[in-house]
Symmetry: C2
Subunit: 388 residues, 2 copies
């Protein structure tokens, strides 16, 4: 008997929502809740794969739009797939490219059949259809792949949201049909995720989730959030979705978010996260601690010979001081970007490990209190999506 | 009985010049001939210390001028010295700052007492005397430290060279006196190197070497080369110096050079090298192989799924292809700078390990022939000095 793709291991008794589970792929298992570092262009920015493994990364994300443009999915197919191309032995998830087409590309025109766009790099014209995106994702060979969707902007009129959702559902159907009717390119299995859209309209979200469930996917993503809406709205939409989505499939909240957003979303039944914040903030000199963020470049840290976070077990915290890392930023040294990125990714991974352990031991509520006793969230907006 | 600072282990029988030795410091031994990666601003650019250790780096270099300006030698002293500040457990060598004052700083004015200059960063005024430089180097706490010297430009008039040499000898004397008459700042020993100058004038080189030997230093550097002179001239001056310098002290050819330059200098009795070429070339997308240099960014490598060098054992070559590294450069990904730098540093270290083994086994001439059978030197200029 083939083992199931996702096994729900435990639901926190008190909350009845926070979940611990296990995703099985041919590149290994993923323990959830999980944070997936973003490897936009076949690299998690500044971090060698072995350092990601050491930090405990279980799965990373690749961006289909970027990889399609450079180096091209044909080249990656020729290299033996994305795992071999970038020397990452564990699971990979690729998005569909939809988000980047709508946020990054020039002069896009949306049609029933797909979306025409100009490359943000050289202005060349391209056309993504649901079928084309599945072909690209098969060439890339990620373990977990996404259907093509339109990520509606925020705010978004009811009319636009309805039209967008209809298109996105049609694309999801076509993606699934094409995924199932075409042969595999690489020898390992791929699992297809549907993406719930519907902007901030509860009934559209519900309609989206129910229609996708009827089509049947290996997992379900919650898309169209972390695009500028208030945090309460993001959490409300998330909870609405997790209440509908089947318990025995993984739930992936796309592009979210700050540490406190992850904690809140786990509390509402989300299993998977990706976000550029740890790597992008790292490169900008902002680092996370269990007490909140620090702008490590600040003069306040000039003579601070403590690690970024005394409680952290990452390579940066075991070996370097705030004073040293500040010096690296002051002098534009790449090692600073590396150490801050490595620490931040470790922090996110460690946060999810801690959350998971708390869920397994039925003390998520205790974890939640302790987290907020120490951690200072910085504001109530939702940051999130973009390049890794 | 205290063990000697330098032990000459073996001189290649056939050449009678190429040497293998061992330098002993309180941070461990250094097997020579040795290449020292340049860590200008308390970091070997892009490379975490543990990766340098893995690559086999035995000793790295820090630049006094840069560290004095940022973060300041007082801060590094407060941090427990440069080793602790940058988390590098093995030996460090610091230059005197003289080279950067003359090549990088603005509006310098040279006086008998020292050199006044403006910081290239913020235009602030500073004054380096021989005594001040020793104080800074004591604060930094490198194991091997250099006297203040003037690195004369090339070409250089006889008159300028004579004056410069007189000044440099006087400074060497004052450095030694100050070094010996002031207390240690850190608990480990420091060893002082004199620097042979004299431009391209054989008699001045001779005078310089003999005067320094008379003063007596732990080691001797050959300075003022790799500043634009023809390669034949560089090698001639080097050989002239090694013939005079005592056999029982280490000889350090500053700022040299390309792989073939190192081989040639070893053949003439040099023990120690530093150069920014491996790291700077790495960041520019040029990598070294046993067949010569490759510009890894070139389209020729788009579909080249071989490692940079099939014979190389570095992390980059064990895990990544030319096609992948080219992609990283095409997409401005920092991991590309890291992998190319790591490979190049490994290549230089491996070259010196191979040279050393050949010397110990009295087959340096065989190594030399085999090296040139494969390796294509790219031209006859001497590249070298600058920031790591």
């Amino acid at each position: 008997m083939q083992e199931e793709f996702f096994r729900l291991e435990h639901v926190d008794a008190a909350s009845g929502k926070a979940r611990a589970g296990r995703i099985r792929t041919d590149h290994g298992e993923i323990e959830t809740p999980v944070f997936m570092p973003v490897g936009t262009q076949a690299t998690v920015k500044t971090l060698p794969p072995r350092d990601l493994l050491e930090a405990g990364a279980q799965v990373i994300l690749g961006n289909t739009y970027h990889l399609y443009l450079r180096p091209g999915d044909a080249l990656i197919r020729q290299a033996g797939g994305l795992h071999r191309f970038m020397s990452w032995p564990r699971p990979i998830l690729t998005d569909s490219g939809g988000y980047q087409v709508f946020s990054l590309a020039e002069l896009r025109s949306l049609k029933e059949d797909g979306v025409r766009f100009q490359s943000h790099i050289d202005g060349s014209y391209h056309f993504f259809t649901p079928e084309k995106v599945i072909d690209i994702e098969k060439n890339l060979g990620a373990d977990l792949i996404m259907v093509l969707d339109e990520c509606a902007p925020y705010p978004c009129s009811r009319e636009y949201a309805e039209k967008s959702l209809a298109l996105t559902l049609n694309w999801a159907k076509r993606c699934k049909a094409h995924f199932e009717s075409t042969p595999a390119v690489h020898s390992h299995r791929q699992f297809l995720f549907g993406i719930v859209q519907g902007s901030t309209y509860p009934d559209l979200r519900r309609q989206s989730a129910e229609s996708l469930i009827e089509l049947g996917f290996d997992g379900y993503a919650i898309g169209g959030l972390a695009v500028g809406e208030p945090k309460t709205m993001m959490l409300e939409m998330t909870e609405l979705c997790t209440e509908i989505l089947p318990a025995d499939t993984p739930r992936y909240l796309m592009g979210v978010g700050k540490p406190e957003d992850l904690v809140e979303a786990v509390a509402r039944g989300v299993d998977m996260f990706d976000c550029v914040i740890p790597t992008r903030n790292g490169r900008n000199g902002t680092v996370f601690t269990w007490e909140g963020k620090l702008v490590i470049k600040n003069a306040a840290f000039r003579e601070d010979f403590r690690p970024i976070d005394e409680r952290c077990g990452c390579y940066a915290c075991r070996n370097f001081t705030r004073a040293y890392i500040r010096h690296l930023f002051q002098t534009d040294e790449i090692l600073g970007l590396y150490l801050a990125s490595l620490h931040n990714v470790y922090f996110y991974l460690d946060l999810m490990r801690t959350v998971r352990q708390a869920i397994l031991e039925d003390r998520f509520a205790e974890f939640y209190r302790q987290f907020y006793d120490r951690y200072r969230p910085d504001n109530q907006t939702v940051e999130g999506r973009g390049q890794g």
